[in-house]
């Protein structure tokens, strides 16, 4: 009996296995071990966390394959890595390294201002960011097997993560109230493939897993996103830019599991040390915002 690899089923299936979990940005193999020991379901291997990319400026690219391979060797959990929007050669390189997921990420400097990668062509699954349902379904149409709301990476300010999650989930709720004959006009309005709009309406959720990202810095932030209805969380700068990364990482893992239990959330939030120094999004000039990259 034949074995079929790289089907959409196994691509989106891995994301299903990550649900209820925390995916952590790591920049060294030591960080990756700390994340795994704290209970991360996967790590995102990169050279600089978003807060540093934001501070350093310049062009942000795919990480050195040497770094990614060292991180892959150091942990047993899945390893993700980022390529630039539209940079399909960076994606080919990451696939050849054997990473478990590619994040076509707005956190890096976009390589193509018109087109995202055609992700169906790859064996490795992709996760992509979105700010609304139309953007999410366009990415799924290109082959993304997992979605994350963008938030605003590297800020430690959860307000954009909340905005994007509320937007996507609100649009799905609205979609479910529409009669069949209004679906085509709705698809046109949000710029999304009709078939995926219909599938989302029938399922009552997106056809792939949806995590939150961009600005989550505390256990309470993670639980907030889970209560809003996302399937799990990415934490970027929030862990390794804090005073006690191991403890904070573990607390965010526990908060993501017990997101509906305020007594446990209170317990895990105690004595975590300094959170990352945040940056209010309202203080950032529009031209420096990351979430507006991608279309």
């Amino acid at each position: 009996m034949e074995q079929q690899i790289a089907t959409f089923n196994v691509k989106k299936g891995l994301a299903q296995m990550l649900k209820g979990g925390v995916i952590m940005d790591v920049v060294t193999a030591d960080h990756a071990k700390i994340a795994e020991d704290a209970g991360a379901v996967a790590v995102m291997a990169l050279e600089r966390v978003p807060a540093d990319i934001r501070a350093d400026g310049g062009v942000a690219r795919m990480s050195d394959p040497e770094l990614i391979m060292k991180i892959m060797e150091s942990v047993s959990i899945p390893v993700m890595a980022k390529c630039r929007i539209g940079h399909f050669v960076e994606a080919q390189i990451l696939e050849s390294l054997g990473v478990d997921y590619i994040d076509e990420s707005e956190v890096l400097t976009p390589a193509d201002e018109a087109n995202h990668i055609f992700k169906h062509d790859f064996k490795v699954p992709f996760v992509c960011g979105c700010r609304n349902l139309g953007e999410a379904l366009r990415r799924i149409g290109e082959g993304a097997a997992m979605i994350r709301t963008k938030g605003e990476a590297g800020t430690g300010d959860v307000v954009e993560a909340v905005r994007h999650a509320r937007t996507v989930l609100g649009e799905i709720r609205k979609l479910q109230t529409l009669p069949e004959e209004e679906l085509m006009a709705f698809s046109k309005e949000i710029g999304a493939p009709y078939e995926l709009v219909k599938e989302t309406r029938d399922l009552g959720r997106m056809p792939v897993v949806n995590f939150a990202a961009g600005g989550i810095a505390t256990p309470a932030d993670a639980a907030l996103m889970m209560q809003l209805g996302v399937d799990g969380v990415f934490v970027g700068s929030g862990i390794f830019k804090s005073g006690d990364p191991a403890k904070r990482a573990n607390a965010i893992v526990k908060a993501t599991t017990h997101y509906n239990d305020p007594a446990i959330l209170a317990e895990v939030s105690r004595n975590l040390g300094e959170p990352m120094v945040g940056r209010q999004i309202s203080s950032i000039p529009d031209g420096d915002l990351i979430a507006t990259r991608g279309w």
Binding site: M1, Q3, L14, L18, K19, S76, P78, D100, Y101, T256
Partner: protein, 190 residues
């Protein structure tokens, strides 16, 4: 009949959805007190290290071992690893089944696959193949003591084992629309 699904992390909702479609009451299990009165428990797919650490932190390991002595437990993928006596790596295990597993035995995600298996013990199993989804899947390297092989790939590698009312599958019946494996487990839980 009420079946619990360990809901620390992973694809527990998928199991709940199938159980409810079969008319079974399903309950999320996150803390030891949630085990009370259950007829059986499913440990879902997910990351076995994460689930093991959370089960340890919330004092679930001993209650789960006790539960498994008398009641049915089924582990899918990560759940199968947790049920095993040996995962060839230092991580929390329930050690309820006499099986040795190898994590990520087929390789990384790009090697994840789907295939059809002959499973004659399932309802209509003689006529209808069972479609199995393997994601960064473990293999059952050996079955010992009271454990028996239930399913193997055509090359003989073991992907499902049973020991009394305990069941381990390295694939994910919760990711297919085929409910026959869940029905098989419900018979064990009766």
């Amino acid at each position: 009949m009420e079946i619990g699904v360990l809901a620390l992390q992973g694809d527990f909702i998928e199991h709940i959805t199938i159980l409810e479609s079969l008319g079974v009451t399903a309950r999320l299990v996150k803390l030891p007190r949630h085990l009370e009165g259950l007829n059986g428990l499913i440990i879902p797919g997910g990351e076995s290290t994460t689930i093991g650490k959370l089960a340890t932190a919330y004092h679930l390991m001993a209650p789960l071992r006790e539960f498994g002595k008398t009641q049915a437990i089924w582990g899918t993928c990560a759940g199968a690893i947790l049920l095993s006596k040996d995962a060839q790596r230092d991580q929390p295990l329930l050690e309820l089944m006499d099986i040795r597993v190898e994590r990520n035995a087929f390789g990384r995600q790009v090697a994840s696959f789907e295939t059809d298996l002959q499973a004659p013990f399932l309802k209509d199993g003689d006529e209808r193949l069972y479609h199995a989804v393997f994601i960064r899947a473990p293999l059952i390297k050996s079955v010992n003591g009271g454990a028996e092989t239930l399913l193997a790939l055509p090359d003989g590698r073991i992907v499902a084992a049973q020991q009394g009312r305990l069941l381990a599958t390295s694939f994910h019946p919760e990711l297919t629309g085929d409910t026959r494996f869940h029905q098989y487990f419900l018979e064990l839980a009766k």
